[in-house]
Amino acid sequence: LQQSGLFGPNVPQKEDSEYGQQGSPADENVVHDSFSQLIAEQSQNEGLSDAIELQHLQGNPDDKGRDNVAYLSPSENRDRWSSATLKILSSMPSRTIGRSRGAIISQYYNRTTELRRRTQKRASIKDFSRSARPSIRGYGVEVDTTDSAEKKQERLVKNLQDLSAVDRMRMLKEMPLNLSEKKDLRRLTLEMTKRTRSSSNLPCCSYLKFQIILALRHSWYSCLSFLHSLQLWQMPLKRVSGRFGSGVLSYFLFLKTLLFFNVFLFLVLGSFLVFPQAVYLPELPESRTPFTGLELLTGGGYFSNTLLYYGYYSNHTLPNCPKNNSTRPECDSRSLSYNMPLAYFFTIGLSFFITCIILVYSMSKSFGQSFRIDKSNGMLAMKVFCSWDFKVIKRSSVKLLSENICTQLKELLGDTHHRLVSNTILDKLIKLLIHGLSWTLCLGATAGCVAGIYCFSDYMHKKVRLSGDPGLLKEASLLALPVLVSFINLMLPILFQLTAWMEKYNSPSLRTFVSLSRNLILKVSVLGVLCFHWLKRVAGSANDDKTFKCWESFVGQDLYRFLVIDFIFSLLDTLFGELLWRLFSDKVLKRNRRPGFDIAKNVLDLIYGQTLAWYRPCCLGLLFTPLLPAVQILKLLLLFYIKMSSVMMNCQAPSRPYRVSQMTTIFITLLCFPSFLGSSVCVTYTMWRLPSSGSCDPFRGNKTMIQAGKQRIAELVDENRSLSFLADAHTYLVENPLFLFVGAAIFLWIVIYFQSQVVDGQRKIIALLQEQIENEGEDKKFLITRLQSVHERKRTPARNLPSQVSLWIAERRAC
């Protein structure tokens, strides 16, 4: 009855998961057994160091002073824990996550099992193992079981093999193992797959299907590889992120996203609208005005009878063959007919719908990522661990970043101190007054400018109607309105910045939000008044004046002008604004710091430009100028390089913290919501109410565009009786715009509600898990003290075991 009794590894292993809850001496064995299991396993897998240490101590029970007492913390009520205890503690399951290979493999075995269950059928609660405390079933601590490493690996490989290829790859990629081990796992899985495949005699069609799937997968990989290799702007983006960090990078990434959107639109519109029209060119009606350089700016003149504008597109089925003599080679009866107006209608609708879906999806995804579930404390720890931007490479930027973080930490430390400083009533009143003043100033300036635009556009409109034939001067004078609008867009944000300087905010994020909302109000009101001008005035005067006979083309030209002038002004602003400011601050003010890159303002400018080309006059833009996405693409490309060089030359890394994911979410939301809502209003108004002009569009001859669609569908139904449901559907759904709106609003609300429910559910799980972690902590404390006391007892001479046992029983009874 010596040492081998309690601590030896050859004690029969008992099945137990509850730790020492019953307090009789017989259960002492149980406690030791489970630990000895752990020790045994560790000694098998990881080396004998732990077990040896323990056996040494067992071997010399007389040796009293050999314990290396380690202090864990300076607080008084901590016990001194021996090194043996510490070794055991560090090999407990929850401590080995991410460290020991065995634990990782077990963890992933559990995960793959769960994934299999989820994909195959819904798991019932009773399938999950019982747990001692009310935790989420099946979400328990990943226990390092007592199987050997090879068996565990085998089971994991088997599970992996049962998953689908996509899931398998995802699991492999996410495992925190060495790459060579992952490759081994993969090889084993593939071998096992081959074995099971070849052993089961597959019928030939399944085999064929299998080969087809393999081939598809291979081609998908090469496609992805190709797309990745395009790597648009990878080096410039790397330079920007290396020097300025993630904040400024997010602006350029946003620009890239917008570019891809426009490319997509261009491809869709181009293949369905522009290409057929370009192939079957209609005959030129009148004499065209010769090309002068001014057209690039005004978009009129030579361009008015090209593919650029809506008016050019044919309103017949292509090829346009007159009934009598046809000298054109395309006009045999066997050529394909292409119904232009219908194509126009459906293509625009389709692209609109698809971009809407993409936007809502990306918005909800970024919402999910950036949603701060628990807004309470934790700021300091987060700042220490999550604030270093690993992308920053340049030495001076790294230095700036360190200073930045230092300042933020000091602020957070001193935060409590600040709050204690009492604000007198007078201080609060003065602060309120200043805020009120600056808001009235900003809103007043906005209202004034909007009224100015309204009056000026009215004046220009009258002037254009009254003057005579279109000449070069008249074309140039059409540029006046865009110039005014761009000028206002440039100057007013500077005013907003000046007013923001005199205000004092509690937190930098509040300052950013206020500035963002002011800029947003300005842009929205400007766009609103322009919309009114186009839709009411210009379209309304279509009947009165021969200049506005083809009002759609005129509006298209106006949009083109706005786009171009906006681009020129942002060029000027970048070149002169930032360059001059840098020279000024270098030479005159003799400051060493360069201006920071104002991310919010620049992103808002991007959104504004995109809105012009895309949304608000939205599909108005698309509707009337199908090649507008191409123009926007060119503009974005140029803008990228110009902004990049300007930022490199003139700006420095931001000195204020910038919450990247939150701001990106806001920008995507801004792109989606005001633009989307406004655009649907505009599009429906245009299509349902406005009379199309008589002379120059694919829908000419009908009262409104929607009636053209109705007519076409009626024709289709005449040809084919079974499509009559289409006509009914058309009447109910499409003709009643209110229904469409309500339907879309309900759908959107459902999506948002679903996502918020998901977030709520996750919040609850987190609370439960936190509670579970605290409970585990308590458990461990209990275990440690028990183990420590047992170990202490072992150190005293254990000659007389029966007396020891009786002593123990006496103690227990006393408790």
């Binding site: 864990l72 913390s73 607080s75 560090s90 929850s94 401590r95 996550i97 991410g98 460290r99 790859m169 492999l172 990629k173 996410e174 925190p176 060495n178 790459l179 993969r186 090889r187 990989y221 992805l224 590889s225 190709f226 990745h228 290799s229 990878q234 983006l237 992120s241 993630s246 950036s370 701060r372 628990d374 934790g378 700021m379 300091l380 720890a381 987060m382 220490v384 661990f385 999550c386 270093w388 690993f390 920053v392 490479i393 790294v398 360190s402 200073e403 973080i405 230092c406 930490l409 000091k410 430390l413 919450r659 990247v660 994911s661 987190i766 936190q770 972690i773 605290e774 902590g777 461990k780």
Partner: protein, 187 residues
């Protein structure tokens, strides 16, 4: 597809593509970067899986890592021997975890390893102090450092042992939405 390269077999490239977040082209580019670090040591032909490791000093000299205050710890956490000698597999592993597409959990595991200076599976006060000093380049006074460490542990420690275990760390990371975008190195 594309040009015939002789550095890796197709099967090897497939394996890399399945197990990391990189595509074939990126793996080849990574190999050329690895080769650039020591042209005479790194063979051009990896079809036989040669056993070649580059020392810490060479890896840490890369422009992406040179100015990073945690560069030594980053390379050490991904090396098998813990001393910072990386083979090509470990090199690819490192940049794969630090790439854009790695999920939050994977990044959290390695971030924990990086900040754990004494490799005892806990973030104790000394680890935090060292992290903080590297972060702020010793601009804070010792009292401030002490205060920050204490407060940080107080905020994040859930099971009450006065140091941060992996679960505490993971819990804290889950509340920081910017972690994914800051813990990212572009290669």
């Amino acid at each position: 597809m594309g040009n015939k390269q002789t550095i890796f077999t197709d099967e090897q490239l497939d394996a890399y593509q399945d197990c990391t977040f990189f595509t074939r082209k990126e793996i080849l580019r990574l190999h050329s970067r690895y080769h650039e670090l020591a042209p005479h040591l790194v063979p051009m032909d990896y079809t036989n899986e040669p056993d070649c490791k580059l020392p810490l000093a060479l890896i840490v000299d890369m422009p992406e890592l040179k100015e990073n205050p945690f560069r030594n710890r980053i390379v050490e956490s991904f090396s098998e021997d813990g001393m910072g000698n990386l083979s090509f597999n470990e090199f690819v592993d490192m940049f794969s975890v630090l790439s854009e597409m790695a999920p939050r959990e994977l990044k959290a595991i390695y971030a924990f390893k990086i900040y754990d200076y004494n490799v005892d599976n806990y973030l104790c006060k000394e680890d935090l102090e060292k992290t903080l000093n590297k972060l702020t380049k010793e601009e804070l006074t010792p009292e401030e450092v002490e205060l920050v460490c204490e407060k940080a542990i107080e905020e994040a420690d859930l099971d009450g042992d006065n140091k941060l275990s992996y679960t505490d760390f993971e819990n804290m990371i889950s509340r920081a939405p910017d972690f994914l975008s800051t813990f990212h190195i572009r290669i």
